[in-house]
């Protein structure tokens, strides 16, 4: 691809917005006003935290879902129904267990008007392409995960699509298989032996996005929006251990941190209610435990995620929680233990509960819950708190937030909960 001639636009999304009404009547905004283009001969990736609507965006682009407002255009024509020249690869493979491998691959061919002879040939070609030549008559349950996803790719490629859509295609595979299949996909896309022009991939792995994509859209959640668009000009095939690759990963990390962990603004006049991240008590103390062993109680978020072996989404949530409680600060990509954090780690384990309790009592959201409990003479019905949470945080699943609050409240003995009576009450500490 040369910079002088930009390839023509294949797909264009204009002002896509998607809203859902949840069973409890709560309205959820999954996507807000998203506009972007996919050009010929390029690989586009969407990355972002879970719940940012990247899979929804993919389904709208394919035509499996209709947006609440906005439109998708394919080569200038508005899309209605499923995009004819698209193939799709699913995270869970989505193979029909009662059809053989060959029958699964042939799924889309007959509807496109292929004769039996053409179907046979196309299936054979697709099978050879993914290296499963001998497995035509096997059933999916006889195959390993990697082989199943190969069938998924073969099925998507058999219809000779112009755009290949992939929803976390390597997400349910083991790392080795995923790496292998990833290289093969890029090889297949580059060698021009098929009609596939562009790839659109949804992933939660930064390395995967850098490995595959020429353009990366970083998305943010609640509501889902495109926060940044990054061009990745590394030449294919990309070497994961090269310095350039590492630098690109770092850059994407920095963008993600910036969008996901923005610098804390100077305290506003009144304490604003912020949702508490869905993390466990032990995760936060574990983070502090880890930090105190680092020089100056300081580390890098991505480094940390890798070292601890959790995904990046989860790590940011944990850091967020610790930051809300004042145990860490996050200048740039770094996570730094504060004086309060050190203090908490210094006391005996039995006394930590008390220290953590006084911190929680100052947290605006917990303070509000405690206030509600006191007004109810120490008791509160689940539904009352759930309703309250729904009003304050309309875009967050209230039940999950509720469960987190209960867990933390119990851990420091501020409150207790009975799921059968569906009631909360204050305990000694509160």
């Amino acid at each position: 691809m040369t910079a002088a001639t930009t390839p023509p636009v294949l797909l264009e999304a204009r002002n896509l917005t998607q809203r859902y009404r949840q069973p409890n009547g709560q309205e959820l905004e999954a996507l807000r006003d998203i506009s972007l283009t996919v050009r010929e001969k390029e690989v586009v990736a969407f990355v972002g935290p879970s719940g940012c609507g990247k899979s929804t965006l993919l389904r709208i682009l394919v035509g499996l879902m209709r947006p609440t407002s906005g439109e998708v255009r394919y080569r200038g024509e508005a899309l209605s129904g499923v995009l004819h020249s698209a193939g799709m690869v699913f995270q869970s493979f989505a193979l029909l267990p009662w059809l053989t491998v060959a029958e699964n691959i042939a799924m889309g061919l007959e509807a496109r008007g292929a004769s039996p002879g053409e179907t046979t040939q196309a299936v054979e070609r697709a099978l050879d392409l993914v290296g499963l030549g001998g497995f035509a008559n096997a059933y999916p349950r006889e195959l390993s995960g990697g082989m199943k996803q190969r069938v998924g790719f073969a099925r998507a490629l058999a219809v000779e699509p112009e755009v290949l859509f992939m929803d976390e295609p390597f997400g349910s595979l083991d790392p080795l298989t995923a790496e292998h299949l990833r290289s093969q996909v890029i090889e297949m896309w580059g060698d021009g032996a098929n009609r596939v022009s562009s790839l659109v991939v949804v992933t939660h792995s930064i390395e995967e996005a850098v490995f595959l994509a020429g353009r990366i859209f970083v998305m943010g959640a609640n509501p889902g929006v495109v926060r940044a668009e990054i061009a990745n000009t590394l030449p294919y095939p990309r070497q994961e251990r090269s310095a350039d690759f590492g630098a690109m990963v770092e850059r994407l990390h920095a963008v993600l941190t910036d969008t996901l962990l923005p610098e804390v603004k100077p305290a506003a006049a009144a304490p604003r209610l912020i949702p508490f991240p869905r993390v466990h008590v032990a995760e936060v103390t574990g983070l502090l435990e880890h930090l105190i062993r680092r020089p100056e109680g300081r580390t890098d978020v991505f480094d940390l995620a890798e070292r601890v072996g959790v995904d990046y989404d989860r790590m940011t949530a944990v850091v967020h929680a610790a930051e809300q409680l004042g145990y860490v600060t996050t200048p740039g990509d770094a996570v730094v233990l504060t004086a309060e954090g050190r203090q908490l780690m210094a006391v005996e384990i039995e006394d930590r509960k008390v220290a953590l309790r006084s911190r929680l009592q100052q947290h605006p959201l917990f303070a509000r819950v405690l206030e509600m409990l006191r007004q109810g003479e120490g008791e509160l019905e689940d539904t009352d708190l759930l309703e309250d949470l729904t009003i304050f945080f309309p875009f967050i699943p209230a039940q999950a937030l509720f469960e987190t609050l209960v867990e933390w409240g119990r851990a420091v003995e501020l409150l207790d909960h009975d799921p059968t009576r569906e009631r909360l009450w204050l305990t000694v500490g509160g």
Partner: protein, 583 residues
């Protein structure tokens, strides 16, 4: 070659015993259908004289069996239509699910007069009307759980599988055939098995009943049993019971076992699952050479014919191309939608007219009768609950005991299955004799009869729950040396509780149904009866007192639905949150 049929697992053989068996089965089936068709077309005889000689019994049993199978076929059609509509359109869902819930609770006698009078009026000269009425009455005991099962299967198809089919641009019909039906196959087979058993419950009433001063009787094992009991012929009674048992075992071996094994192919989860079921019948069927004689699948018309059809084909292709544009698709969509709206409106209208009719009937019901109904309903309610409690008292410990021992459970499974699918009302005459001999009044005896109908649901559910309990939990109780009583209290009873609630729901339903035959028993030429809702309904049917019948059925359905909503469902939810095994 990829599209070639999968290589056969059996080497090519010459026709053998397996083929002979298959041929014999096919021939037997054909002969049966022809003989039954003759009975269908025979001139109308309201009450066929029943031949009590043992030699007549096989024919009667076969007739009953065919009625059950035909009713099941209709039930499947209904279930598929209902489930598909309810799963596809949200509006339909909101209307149809409550309707199903209510229909489920209406006892068969509530349908009887309408069906019989309507269909006999429609076919006054031939037996068809009466036969159809009997078949549809069996249908009313089979259809509802099948419909619910199909609906639930459709609702639980993974989203990505649906999307894969849409990506493949499969038309609706193909999605139905290759996605929905396979995904629902296992549920349909298992529930078909339950429905078949449920369909026999009222066999005696379905085949022999009195409506006002008319006696209706159809040739069948149920009618045979009724007549045998009426004549006090104990040998014929015993023979009828044996015939029924043989029919149940035979249909389990010849029909259900092969179907269950076959349906395993259509599991949705990828896991290998537990030990595969086996069926020798399916083995015989698959080994047969006859299947390979199917020429239709690979048949192509001779070349001359194809050539002759060429112009036609071009025309078809052109027509297809013309039909392809969006407009046609939209048109078809609009038509389907329109048809659906009309159908739903018809259902709603039917419901309204039905309600109006029932309302007009109820207006004629004297106030005194309402009082009787209320009192009777209270009595029957107490009996139903006693039956559930008594059943639990024995079935819970026995279920836990059987469930914890794989050896016992394997040994007892076929016996329990036979007893469970045996229609309890056919045992009533014998039990009533014993009760009379013991001097127990029918007011209490009816409870024993209801226990007969209700206990199996509880036993089955407890056994399966205990068997499914994670082995590590049992090991933990052993490791911490819990005394036996504590192991039961801490582990097995809580583990069984959610299933126990499910069992209670079904058992109570069975007990309500049984009330109709338990509180009003024909003993020789005499009728033994005790006050209760069931006996009121039976009496109203026999005297053709339609206002009282409508009132009785209404009260019974209302109590079943109300109790389900107010007690069973909250209890089931509680059981799931408190004792569910998901952590």
């Amino acid at each position: 070659m990829i599209a070639a049929p999968p290589p056969s697992h059996h080497p090519a053989r010459r026709p053998g015993l397996a083929d002979l068996a298959v041929l014999a089965l096919v021939a037997g089936g054909l002969a049966l259908i022809i003989s039954f068709a003759r009975e269908f077309r025979a001139p109308m005889v309201a009450a066929v004289p029943i031949d009590l000689r043992p030699s007549a019994l096989p024919r009667y049993t076969m007739y009953s069996f065919i009625r059950g199978v035909l009713a099941l076929a209709i039930s499947y059609l209904f279930a598929v239509g209902f489930g598909w509509t309810a799963a596809r359109w949200r509006t339909a869902e909101r209307l149809l699910l409550p309707v199903l819930d209510i229909l489920q609770s209406v006892p068969v006698l509530g349908f009887l007069p309408g069906l019989v009078l309507g269909l006999v009026a429609l076919f006054p000269a031939r037996n068809v009307g009466l036969e159809l009425a009997a078949i549809l009455m069996i249908f009313t005991a089979q259809a509802w759980n099948l419909a619910l099962s199909f609906y639930n299967s459709l609702k639980s198809i993974p989203q990505e599988l649906r999307e894969a089919c849409r990506m493949a641009a499969w038309p609706e019909w193909r999605q139905f055939r290759q996605l929905m039906l396979p995904a629902a196959a296992q549920g349909l087979v298992w529930n078909g098995m339950l429905s078949m058993a449920g369909g026999w419950f009222f066999l005696m009433i379905n085949e022999a009943f009195r409506l006002g001063d008319h006696d209706f009787r159809l040739p069948g094992v149920g009618a045979y049993m009724s007549v045998a009991v009426e004549h006090g012929d104990s040998r014929a009674t015993a023979l009828a019971l044996v015939a029924m048992a043989v029919m149940i075992v035979a249909s389990d071996r010849l029909l259900w076992r092969p179907l269950v094994v076959w349906a395993q192919k259509y599991r949705l989860d990828d896991s290998a699952g537990g030990p595969a079921e086996e069926s020798w019948i399916l083995g015989v069927l698959q080994r047969s050479v006859l299947w390979r004689l199917r020429p239709a699948a690979r048949w192509r018309p001779p070349r001359s014919a194809r050539k002759a059809a060429l112009p036609l084909r071009r025309g078809i292709r052109r027509a297809r191309r013309m039909l392809r544009p969006r407009r046609a698709v939209l048109l078809v969509g609009c038509l389907t939608r329109g048809a659906l709206v009309v159908a739903l409106a018809a259902v709603a209208l039917g419901a309204v007219v039905g309600l109006y009719r029932v309302g007009r009937l109820l207006v004629h019901l004297p106030r005194a009768d309402w009082g009787n109904l209320a009192g009777a309903a209270g009595l029957t309610f107490l009996r139903v609950m006693s039956a559930v409690v008594l059943s639990t008292l024995w079935a819970l410990p026995v279920g836990i005991w059987v469930g914890t021992s794989p050896r016992i459970s394997r040994a007892l499974a076929p016996v329990i299955q036979l007893f469970a699918s045996f229609p309890a009302p056919m045992l009533f005459p014998i039990v009533v004799l014993v009760l009379a001999w013991l001097g127990v009044p029918l007011g209490f005896g009816a409870i024993a009869l209801m226990v007969l109908a209700a206990q199996w649901y509880i036993l089955f559910n407890v056994i399966s729950a205990v068997e499914a309990a994670p082995g590590q939990l049992a090991e933990a109780t052993l490791a911490f040396r819990l005394p036996p009583w504590q192991r039961w209290r801490k582990l097995y009873i809580p583990v069984a509780f959610p299933s126990l609630v499910t069992g209670w729901i079904t058992a109570a339903g069975g007990a309500w149904n049984a009330a109709i035959v338990a509180e009003y028993v024909q003993q020789g030429s005499a009728v033994r009866t005790t006050t209760g809702l069931g006996s009121l309904i039976s009496l109203a049917t026999e005297r053709a007192n339609f206002p009282l019948l409508a009132g009785g059925v209404l009260v019974m359905s209302g109590m079943v639905v109300g109790w389900n909503r107010a007690v069973w469902r909250p209890l089931a939810r509680l059981a799931q949150t408190r004792f569910g095994l998901t952590q």
